[in-house]
């Protein structure tokens, strides 16, 4: 096919084309192409995912039924206390929490690029998902919406090297930034040595970054060491959510987009 031309010319042509894509990365045409291709590929990926997850869903369903039965009994027993708690909660004015609306979505697959930590979900602009909406599971924060298609979205996970989340030690109120530490681990940067932190402390979102609401659980401190520069701590954080096994996720719709 390329017999009469110099061997490297086709390579040069594809390289220039690839570089053209690199330089037009943020263009609206590329974004439209990305959204449409993701929507299309998810049509194929969804059944694969459903089949592969069937045994896990079955087991989880059984476990959740058992938990539901146990919880129902507990609720019945704690009826009076529950009413009291509700009253106190109202008194404490939990406006912050009630102003959020959750959108349910299913994780369909992982990012095809091994270096990038993201998942593809089956909710998009038709479900009112917006870029930068926070994504959570019942056990903690998962990440944020990075790109929105019509019926699909890409979620940038906490484990992605390019995502930083404003975090806080729940007990001491020390603020820092949560980053990926590789291998499904996180680290909390920017905490001074004067902070009073213990292994096992909860790390929550501080809400300072503007993307994640305040008070969502990120993980737990599992190692504290002195940074070589001697005035900051190196804090390893174990994510509370199992970021490698995501199935059903919740997207937090902010108050201004909830209506």
């Amino acid at each position: 096919m390329f017999g009469k031309i110099k061997p490297y010319v086709p390579w040069l042509a594809t390289s220039l084309l690839a570089m053209g894509f690199i330089f037009s990365n943020q263009s609206p045409q590329i974004n439209t192409l990305r959204q449409n291709l993701t929507d299309l590929i998810l049509i194929g990926a969804h059944p694969v995912n459903s089949i592969l997850n069937a045994p896990r869903v079955w087991n989880e369903n059984t476990r959740m039924r058992e938990q539901l039965a146990v919880m129902s009994m507990k609720i019945a027993r704690l009826g009076d206390s529950g009413t009291e708690a509700l009253r106190l909660r109202r008194m404490m004015n939990f406006r912050e929490r009630s102003s959020f609306k959750l959108i349910t979505a299913e994780a369909i697959g992982m990012n095809p690029d091994p270096g990038i930590r993201s998942v593809l979900i089956n909710a998009g602009s038709v479900d009112s998902v917006r870029v930068n909406d926070a994504v959570i599971v019942p056990t903690g924060v998962v990440g944020r919406i990075y790109r929105v298609g019509r019926r699909s979205s890409a979620v940038q996970l906490l484990l992605d090297p390019n995502l930083g989340v404003a975090g806080r030690i729940a007990n001491s109120y020390d603020d820092g930034i949560i980053h990926s530490a590789g291998m499904r681990k996180l680290r909390l940067d920017g905490i001074p040595t004067s902070a009073t932190i213990e292994v096992g402390d909860s790390v929550i979102t501080s809400g300072l970054g503007g993307v994640f609401p305040q008070g969502l659980l990120i993980g737990y401190v599992n190692k504290i060491s002195l940074n070589p520069n001697r005035w900051l701590l190196d804090i390893a954080v174990e994510p509370s959510a199992d970021l490698g096994r995501l199935m059903e996720l919740f997207i937090i719709q902010k108050a201004d987009s909830a209506d």
Binding site: D113, P161, G182, R184
Partner: protein, 172 residues
């Protein structure tokens, strides 16, 4: 010829869907294999440098468009590696045994992942060395292992190994 191209394209789409759908199952401690890299390298070994170039570009651009990274980076990395490795191998009169295939694939994957990480870590606090140790090297070896297992499987062996072992005088 046209049927062969269409078949290869369909296989490519299947591998892409597998990469998206199977990754959660294949992931070990946050490290995933690059199934499309295996696919591109198999095509390169079978059909030569130009096939590798086109397959690498197509597979890479599909990955780029679906992922949240910079569009074009994976296309550039995959097509370049497949093309130049194809050229390099084309000049030799050797047959690749499974171990050779594993080494070739791991090396190609290592160069690919290293190149991609240069873009990925722009603006990130993670050091390149740390990322190499924790992600690039494990991911490359993992891709090599999956590729190695693939050609040892009965359905994977027939064509790829045949191609690998018999590929000596292919014109690229």
């Amino acid at each position: 010829m046209l049927i062969e191209i269409v078949k290869t394209f369909i296989y490519g789409v299947i591998v892409l869907i597998a990469q998206i759908g199977l990754s959660p199952l294949l992931e070990i401690s946050g490290v995933k294999p690059d199934l499309l890299m295996i696919f591109v390298m198999l095509l390169m070994v079978r059909n030569g440098a130009y096939a590798g170039l086109i397959a690498g570009f197509m597979a890479g651009i599909a990955q780029d468009l679906i992922s949240i990274g910079i569009t074009g980076v994976l296309a550039l990395a995959k097509s370049t590696i497949a093309f130049w490795l194809g050229r390099l191998l084309g000049g030799q009169d050797t047959s690749l045994k499974p171990t050779g295939w594993f080494l070739l694939l791991s090396l190609a994957s290592l160069v690919h992942n290293f190149f991609v990480s240069l873009f990925l870590l722009q603006g990130s606090d993670i050091g390149l060395f740390e990322y190499l140790i924790k992600n690039v090297i494990p991911s490359s070896l993992y891709t090599g292992i999956i590729g190695y297992i693939w050609i040892l499987l009965p359905f994977g062996r027939k064509k790829p190994e045949e191609r690998l072992l018999s590929r000596t005088r292919r014109d690229i």
